[in-house]
């Protein structure tokens, strides 16, 4: 596991040049969009939803897998998937998008647009925002006047200093922001047509190719530390859509007695090894409600780190239930990992519902249950 020790974090708003003195050898450049966990120094990423980060104990750990059990029509799981990728764009991470039904380029075009408030501007257009923020800073720096004329600290483009952002689901991300990051694609119909049939480890063909593709990217781009001379480290965010569905060539979703029940679990095991040895994090959505053989889902849960199940109220009798009138569905946190420690950071309550507004996806304890915490 890449448990990085970030010594002396530089202040986020860049207003002062004071930095804690630490020996040069132990100082690692902080990676944008990550922060060390308070409890055990594990490096954390934001999942794209600040409320989900709270529920998961601060964020998603680097090197782990977040498994989302899809809701019945896949609407909200798709949204979580997009939030995760959008967060990667805002933080300047690299993306790897894999899908068997949608072209990854189309998925990226439909990501929600990030919301920036006045204080933290995203420097996509550096000149324009530099002028604006300088004007603001001239007002806000009246007290610290002696620092006014010092050169501004440089922030790399599209690297916002905050941990966790909000998105506007009614707007899509701007093409300029998309162009500023590096991303890789895996579209199954494309891959199948390029190469002849191969089968390794008795795994479904699609899974084998996906694993080889991920491993190739991790190795070539140096996410596994194979290029130590590369100073600036970055995170690879991997998103795999609807794994286990029929389109991946796996039949666990359509029959009671699938031909090969081990493909998905073997895939997850090899993927786990890949994630643990690299600076990456992965989100996978699985249509769990379609898998008839529940033993498979139990094994899949054991092989994943964080497992979150979504249950939407669409089309169910709960839609008209007055108890649930403010919410769109329930969130079940099935598993949170215990990494580098004997206990895990788990929130105090398990009775969670979610509510989607245009600019916010909140997770709350159900009104009417004994505790009422809102995770904003």
């Amino acid at each position: 596991m890449a448990a990085l020790a970030t010594g002396g974090a530089t202040p986020s708003d860049g207003a002062t040049s004071f930095q804690r003195k630490v020996p040069a050898s132990s100082r690692l450049a902080a990676i944008a969009g990550t922060r060390p966990s308070v409890r055990h120094g594990q490096l954390l990423l934001s999942s794209g939803l600040p409320s989900l980060d709270c529920v998961l104990g601060g964020g998603l750990a680097v090197g782990t897998l977040l498994l989302i059990e899809e809701d019945k029509y896949g609407i909200y799981s798709n949204l979580l998937f997009k939030y995760f990728l959008a967060e990667g764009i805002v933080c300047g991470h690299n993306l790897f998008v894999a899908s068997a039904k949608e072209d990854p380029a189309d998925i990226l075009k439909e990501l929600p647009a990030p919301l920036f408030d006045d204080v933290h501007k995203n420097q996509v257009d550096e000149k324009e925002t530099a002028i604006k923020s300088k004007q603001e800073s001239q007002e806000s720096m009246k007290i610290a006047w002696r620092y006014q004329n010092l050169p501004k600290m440089e922030v790399s483009p599209a690297a916002s200093a905050r941990f966790g952002h909000y998105y506007d689901v009614s707007k899509t991300v701007s093409p300029e922001l998309l162009k500023s990051i590096k991303w890789h694609r895996f579209f199954l119909p494309e891959e199948m047509s390029l190469h002849p049939e191969i089968k390794t480890c008795n795994m479904t063909c699609g899974y084998t190719r996906l694993l080889q593709s991920i491993q190739r990217i991790i190795y070539q781009e140096g996410f596994d530390g194979s290029y130590p001379q590369k100073k600036q480290k970055n995170i690879l965010r991997i998103g795999i859509q609807s794994l286990g569905s029929v389109l991946w060539g796996d039949d666990i979703c359509c029959t009671d007695n699938p031909e090969d029940i081990f493909s998905l679990t073997k895939f997850l095991y090899v993927l786990r090894g890949l994630l643990r040895m690299s600076l990456s994090a992965c989100i996978i959505t699985v249509p769990a409600h379609l898998i008839q053989n529940k033993a498979i889902m139990e094994r899949v849960t054991n092989l994943s780190d964080t497992v979150v199940g979504l249950e939407s109220f669409i089309g169910s009798e709960r839609e008209t239930n007055p108890l649930y009138k403010d919410y769109q569905g329930l969130i079940h946190v099935h598993q949170i990992p215990r990494l580098n420690s004997l206990i895990c950071d788990v929130s105090g309550t398990k009775d969670l519902a979610f509510r989607l507004k245009r600019k916010q996806f909140t997770i709350e304890t159900r009104a009417g249950s004994s505790q009422c915490d809102t995770f904003i």
Partner: protein, 241 residues
Amino acid sequence: MLSNPPSSLSFLEGSLLIVFQGKLTLLRDTKTDGSFLVHHFLSFYLKAGCKVCFVALLQSFSHYNIIAQKLGVSLTAAKERGQLVFLEGLKSCFDVFFGEEQHVGQTNPLQFVSKDGSNLKTMYEFVRTSLMASGSDSWKCPVLLVDDLSVLLSLGVRPVDVLDFIHYCRVAVCSQLKGNIVVLVHSNDDSEDEENELVVNSLCHQSNLILWAEGLATGFCKDVHGQVKLAKAFSLLPMLP
């Protein structure tokens, strides 16, 4: 020649170790994570000066190392002085899947992942050779630790082959080498994974000591994570002075 680290166990723990040899301990968890027991046994046996073969299938080496350091043992140091043989399952599986055929050879313990069969013979050979006492060793009884067995079923191994593997290990480690085996399995009362339940029930029947970590029946509680039940414990009374 590195000397053994001084045994930091109390007298009671030390005498327990003399008594408790050649036994199979089953660690079982339901609705909670029983891996804290694995960490405990790992550091316990290393502090006691036993030679340990750890088959770690689910997590990376650094994860166990960091927790072991919190419990007072350094796994890296134990590996260097030859007290610990660590099989990192994730890394071996990576080598099998992405490595070249001729480099992997036939000796990778996880090579059953690539073949159709679910033969755990190479893994057993690995365990046997690592715990075999060599002339210069002065460690106490050998210990095999497995975390966890349920993963093997997910990788395509049949239940009967898992049970065969444990049986062969018991013959080699428990009766021939007079060592101990500690194995972690997951189970659930309402589990639909019949193969897993089969393995768990069979191991419950075979084992000498069962430690069962369960979540609380009344539901989730922040301060109390669960309870641990002890079953089939051997009787100490005739042994103590």
